[in-house]
């Protein structure tokens, strides 16, 4: 039997993630210092783990309601109100999910009809585009540009919008660029979204990680925007809880109801243990979240400085835990840069093209790694960059 032919063409024809090939390569070099990890290097704060082990010893291990434990939903609602000035009703507008990942899938499946176009602002997290395709939609990449600090500009949206456009996926603070959007940056975007009656799927998973005293602004907080927004957030990055698989989605009731149907049939509920952890995180974890952010901030400044010193142009990231320098000055493309850096110096970074066509001249370096390791990685990278420039120059002179 031809099993290939049994696969849905959508799945069969889907290209494997670009990150996958690189992952396999890095795994052959076990001692490499990896700046390729998109998750915190901290373990989940102890009080959160302890709350869960205590709960496991005494407590219930059953399903929760589809949307989640009522206490957690209330805590999420309160958190969104306090931190981001958002108003979501705990009983009719919030669902806890298997991380932001499930939330992305829920939002897209609830919205998309075959042939609908979804604008995906890139460079961006690698899941959006495949999830749009899996939901039967057509992803339309919307570029952001290094010269604009990778902020979203309304001109780029205008170029891509068509009568078939239904939704727009954005994620700020951004993975991989570290860009954030201020209230000012959002103003024209908000107008655009209203004018074209679009739904914004706003993945705000890095909302707690903004620097330079700039607070995160949610697009849902603008006047009238709640009706246009599906908000995604979670605990993975802010509370160092990636392995727990817990996040949430918030949306106006009609959209909420749609997504809840899918969630109820495909997931039933988010894991109870993880919901308990999430509740503890919101109730008692915000200080530790700030402590981690302070560590990231130190590393951020250190890395930005080191990169600019080695002559790699790099806008200063104001959020998340990534820097996204351009590597064109080395004469290499990002794929070769990443591959050679790994093989010659044992440092792993992710070539930017993985995150979308606007990233092809960049590499993503995650600074969710100790300062000691970052220091060593930066030294090696400097040596590498100097060597490449030298080779480049010699090559040029020979041609000359």
């Amino acid at each position: 039997m031809d099993l290939e032919s049994k696969l849905s063409p959508i799945v069969r024809d889907m290209a494997p993630s670009g990150i996958r090939r690189f992952f396999d390569l890095v795994n052959q070099i076990p001692d490499a210092i990896s700046l390729g990890v998109g998750e915190p290097d901290f373990v989940t704060p102890y009080h959160i783990r302890k709350t869960v082990t205590d709960s496991l010893e005494h407590g219930p291990t059953s399903y929760t309601s589809n949307q989640g434990l009522p206490e957690l939903l209330s805590a999420v609602s309160e958190y969104l109100r306090k931190r981001f000035d958002l108003s979501y009703h705990p009983e009719t507008e919030i669902i806890t999910t298997f991380g932001g990942s499930e939330a992305i899938d829920l939002a897209l499946r609830a919205l998309i009809c075959p042939g609908d176009e979804v604008m995906v602002v890139e460079p961006s997290y690698v899941s959006y585009e495949p999830c749009v395709v899996l939901a039967g939609g057509i992803p339309v990449p919307v570029a952001t540009h290094a010269k604009e600090g990778f902020k979203l500009r309304v001109e780029d949206l205008e170029r891509c919008v068509t009568p078939k456009t239904k939704a727009l996926i954005i994620s700020f603070p951004n993975n991989p660029t570290g860009a954030i959007m201020t209230a000012e940056d959002y103003t024209p975007i908000v107008e655009f979204v209203k004018k074209h009656e679009l739904i914004v799927i706003s993945d705000e998973i890095y909302a707690e990680l903004t620097y330079k005293n700039k607070n995160h602004v949610s697009i849902a907080s603008f006047d009238g925007m709640k009706d246009h927004t599906i908000l995604i957030n979670g605990f993975s990055k802010s509370f160092a809880m990636t392995g727990w698989r817990i996040g949430f989605i918030a949306a106006p009731e009609i959209l909420w109801r749609g997504m809840l149907k899918i969630h109820q049939y495909t997931a039933l509920c988010a894991p109870r243990m993880s919901q308990i952890a999430a509740l503890e995180a919101l109730q008692n974890g915000l200080q530790e979240c700030l402590n981690m952010k302070q560590q990231y901030d130190r590393r951020r400044r250190f890395v930005v400085h080191s990169l600019s010193e080695m002559g790699l142009t790099c806008m200063e990231p104001e959020g998340a835990f990534y820097v996204f320098p351009s590597i064109t000055s080395t004469g290499l493309d990002a794929e070769s840069f990443a591959e050679q850096l790994l093989l010659e110096e044992g440092v792993a970074v992710v070539p930017g093209g993985v995150f979308g066509p606007s990233g092809t001249e960049h590499i993503r370096c995650s600074y969710a790694t100790s300062l000691e390791r970052l220091d060593e990685a930066m030294k090696r990278m400097k040596r590498f960059v100097e060597k490449k420039r030298q080779t480049n120059k010699e090559h040029y002179l020979q041609l000359g």
Binding site: S17, I19, F22, F23, V26, N27, A32, S34, G36, V37, G38, E39, D41, Y125, V126, S127, N175, R298, R299, R301, F302, H305, S306, A348, V350, V354, L371, E372, D375
Partner: protein, 162 residues
Amino acid sequence: MELQEEILSVLSENARLTIEQISHIVNQPEDKVRETIALLEKKQAIIAYQCVIDWKKIGKQKVRALIDVQVTPQQAHGFDVIAKRIAMYNEVVNVYLMSGAYDLSITLEVDSLEAVGLFVTEKLAPLDFVVNTRTHFILKKYKEADVLLDTDGPDNRLHIAP
């Protein structure tokens, strides 16, 4: 955070960082960092740069003991004078004035169990202001100077994650 506090906080985690590295981390010119550290050293906000060591790892077993000491402060010997007198011994690494039944808590670090006994009987007890002592041996260390010991497992994360 104010610069002095930020620098101290950075140094408290890793005192080996160079001025250059610190200047990147706190985002201030090197000269300013150098000056600030000099000032902090001068006013003894920075007391010393030390290393947190697990001697066991090189097969050296240092013995640490905590000794509670009850003293009778006399006219000429307030607690300060007594504490400073005890602090003069090389094997004493910490001396604190305490609330509670005992007055001073001292930490001793020596090479052997016998040396602890010798210290107490020959150096501490004979001091005329020492009334009573109580010795506790440290059996195992779990956390030292804010650092958890023997927990440094491998980084469990995948090498590359989106």
